[in-house]
């Protein structure tokens, strides 16, 4: 009987894993909650994916692709799925987790106004058809995503009024110099920067408040500039979607899934790749995905040949983390009445005197609403230094009927 390998997430990491696993005789199932494969960067345009993964989009292989399927939980040998045809349990021998990252939101006055969005959120809306031509946009926060998305928006006709980066200039220059070691990154960065030639770029600067009646109209910055705009796109950092890994019992380190050189987590037979193990973008996702796919199917020889690339990708990931580390001033942005949990309307003031995240949840209901703390738990971790609470099933809201599994 061949090995049952399940890959969660059809982004770069998951697709790369599927490709290398398909070199063996494994029985591979690839799952993604979206209709289309591709993940954060390749979804919506297969041309963007390297050639050798394109056949995976076309599903020409033996691979079973379950799209529009949410993995909502797991135990030691089953994944629990919410599929368009109802709930399902999927038995596995091995799992590769490649379910990516999301944006970190930090609360500041006005962050809940309409048209204040995540950078990736606005990117996705624009890809999905939101008309952005002629609109004034401020892109703010931290990390290479700002420049990448700002240039994409500009390409689509947006007027990018400013790119606002909290990291100090010295750190950015050092990061720029380090790119010399990663040829593929230089090309991307150069393109984006060329596109943003005439766009004001403020390093060492951050948003202090978003203001406006009904929707954002103006953004105030720490350098005392005020900028009028139609959209404020904010991204402070990316955080890994570790809920499923935690449910499987995988150890985390600094909020990322801990893996060995074969991408295996602390739990036997559970592997992780891509943003889940550390933010490092497409290259890291691909090499880690490939290694995970090889290692999970026993092809250690092939996996070890990628060790050098893997080390490079991880080093880059480290550099990203230190270059764009969040400055302590950002902890002071929220005012007493600034909402921290927008699902349950919990303000900064209500949380300030709580002893722990668990207590905050129980006493104020912070993180207990529709998003189940996906937004505010990371923010409070940063603001108050609180640890995490246990992860509860299901990791995405589903209907009662979707929790009724046929007997095992």
């Amino acid at each position: 009987m061949s090995l049952n390998l399940v890959i969660v997430g059809a982004g770069p990491a998951g697709l790369a894993a599927a490709w290398s696993a398909s070199q063996s005789k494994a029985n591979v199932t690839l799952i993604d909650q979206y209709d289309q494969a591709g993940g954060q960067i390749w979804r919506g345009g297969t041309h963007a994916a390297p050639k050798r993964y394109q056949h995976l989009f076309a599903q020409q292989t033996e691979l079973r692709y379950l799209n529009k399927t949410h993995v909502i939980g797991a135990n030691a040998d089953h994944l629990f799925l919410a599929t368009p045809n109802g709930p399902q349990q999927l038995a596995f021998d091995r799992v590769i987790l490649a379910n990516g990252a999301r944006e970190l939101f930090l609360p500041f006055p006005g962050w809940t106004l309409p048209k204040v969005l995540g950078v990736g959120g606005l990117q996705a809306l624009v890809k999905g058809g939101l008309p952005i031509a002629g609109k004034n946009v401020v892109v703010a926060g931290s990390g290479p995503l700002l420049v990448a998305v700002a240039s994409q928006l500009k390409q689509r006709g947006a007027i990018v009024k400013a790119v606002v980066e909290q990291a100090p200039l010295g750190q950015l220059l050092r990061f720029g110099r380090s790119l010399a070691g990663y040829p593929s990154k230089i090309g991307q960065a150069a393109q984006s920067i060329a596109m943003l030639r005439n766009t004001p770029f403020y390093p060492n600067t951050w948003v202090v408040a978003a203001e406006g009646a009904g929707a954002v109209q103006q953004v105030r910055l720490s350098n005392h500039h005020s900028i009028e705009c139609d959209y404020l796109a904010c991204s402070w950092s990316l955080i890994a979607n570790t809920e499923l890994a935690q449910q499987l019992g995988c150890k985390l380190e600094h909020s990322f899934v801990l893996v060995d050189r074969g991408q295996q987590t602390s739990v036997n037979h559970i592997y992780a790749a891509g943003e889940l193990t550390g933010i490092g973008g497409e290259d890291k996702a691909i090499v880690e995905g490939q290694i995970a796919g090889f290692a999970a199917t026993g092809n250690y020889q092939a996996a070890s040949q990628l060790a050098h690339k893997q080390a490079q990708a991880r080093q880059f990931s480290q550099q990203l983390a230190t270059s764009f580390a969040l400055r302590p001033e950002l902890r002071q942005l929220a005012q007493a009445n600034t909402l921290v949990c927008r699902c349950e309307d919990v303000t900064f003031e209500q949380l300030q005197n709580q002893p722990s995240w668990r207590s905050a949840k129980l006493q104020t209901r912070c993180g207990m609403g529709v998003c189940q703390g996906r937004v505010c738990s990371s923010a409070t971790q940063y603001l108050f230094g609180w640890g995490q609470d246990s992860v509860r099933f299901p990791i995405h809201p589903v209907s009662v009927a979707d929790l009724v599994m046929e007997s095992v």
């Binding site: 939980g73 006493q363 529709v370 099933f393 209907s399 929790l403 046929e406 095992v408």
Partner: protein, 369 residues
């Protein structure tokens, strides 16, 4: 007695802290996690008069009266909501139970109303067709227990009670040892740490009974009362094996809490999918519209069950100065205030409102010593 240490800051420990501090005792409460984070955070918070025997009925009724007094000034601080309980009868046999239950309640002057099928659907149109009737007990209510626990604690603090964060490792005469090496002394020690009491006193006849609950998004108009199946007691209190019973609660903010299940001797947090499915299938059977209701999360909690279902309230039979308030099973929110009062009455040599006999510590297991 001038000082007391209370082990455990759940609803019971906090209630005992207030009773003793109010009476002038120097109270130290010890909590390993945060206040109200154990079973108190996991339960449904249904304040319900339960009639599985006279002693249970009296303790829960007394508890309910004390809750009404406690919450009267600031109901919203407890998210107190007098939604009443509606016991639902599915067939002739359960219809018979309605009459019997009503007779018992009336005997104790507890308001209740027998509903025939038409009246049942007038009250709760979301119930499935074909039910025969029910019993409405309007004074039952719900609270949000972790908030109430902290409220009780804050009142105790006004009477100079002190909170110490730490884990009690062992009990000595008039002292407790914490895992970090600290030793604290007092005239009396009160064990109120819920199911974990057996870690400190393995001779106690307490077993874990794990439950699983589901919370949904907001559906403010689906149901009005806490709906419970009439066979609840029969289904919930089997003495072995896994069981489920239909128990559906409308939270004041419109969320729904779906219960309930019981599993012996499990304290882990892994959801049992099969049992969850059985429980939810039953809930959908009673209220078909639940199928499309969106669930935010599930969780588990552990009840501390004594063999006869009644808590142990009083002095340890073999250790003077060591007091117990444990074993509240699935009713510890309801009975927190009444049991705390009855314990304080004993510790302070005050007359008690109820006959204490049925609740005194009993059934210690000799061979485990």
């Amino acid at each position: 007695m001038s000082s007391a240490i209370i082990v455990g800051g759940g609803i019971v420990g906090c209630a005992v802290a207030l009773e003793l501090a109010q009476a002038g005792v120097q109270v130290t409460l010890i909590e390993r996690d945060c206040l109200g984070s154990g079973a108190t955070a996991a339960g449904m918070g249904h304040i319900v008069v339960m009639d599985e025997g006279e002693a249970q009925l009296k303790l829960t009724l007394y508890g309910q009266q004390l809750w009404q007094t406690l919450t009267a000034a600031h109901p919203q601080r407890h998210e107190y909501h007098e939604c009443g309980t509606l016991w639902v009868a599915t067939d002739a046999e359960e219809w018979q139970l309605v009459a019997e239950k009503a007779a018992v309640y009336r005997q104790h002057l507890i308001p209740c109303e027998i509903l025939d099928a038409a009246a049942l659907y007038a009250h709760e149109p979301a119930l499935r067709a074909g039910l025969v009737g029910g019993l409405l007990v309007p004074n039952d209510s719900v609270v949000y227990p972790p908030k109430s626990a902290v409220y009780l604690w804050q009142q105790a603090e006004k009477h100079a009670a002190k909170l110490v964060y730490g884990e009690v490792r062992s009990i000595q005469a008039n002292a407790v040892q914490l895992s970090d090496g600290r030793q604290l002394h007092a005239d009396a020690i009160v064990i109120a740490n819920g199911q974990r009491c057996i870690e400190l006193l393995p001779e106690l006849p307490i077993r874990a009974k794990r439950g699983q609950l589901v919370i949904t998004e907001r559906y403010p108009n689906l149901i009005k009362h806490q709906l419970v199946e009439l066979s609840y007691i029969k289904n919930a209190h089997a003495s072995s094996g896994d069981s489920v019973a239909f128990n559906l609660q409308p939270r004041p903010n419109g969320q729904l809490l779906i219960g309930s299940s019981r599993q012996f001797d499990r304290t882990d947090r892994q959801i049992d999918q099969q049992l969850l499915s059985t429980m939810l299938r039953k809930a959908i059977d009673y209220v078909p519209a639940l199928a499309d209701v969106r669930c935010l999360r599930t969780w588990t909690g552990v009840r501390a069950a004594s063999p006869d279902g009644l808590p142990l309230i009083g002095q340890h039979p073999e250790q003077a100065g060591l007091w117990l308030n444990v074993g509240h099973e699935g009713l510890g929110i309801t009975t927190a205030l009444s049991s705390a009062r009855l314990l304080a009455d004993q510790m302070l040599h005050r007359p008690a409102a109820l006959d204490l006999q049925p609740y005194l510590p009993r059934g210690l297991q000799q061979e485990q010593r």
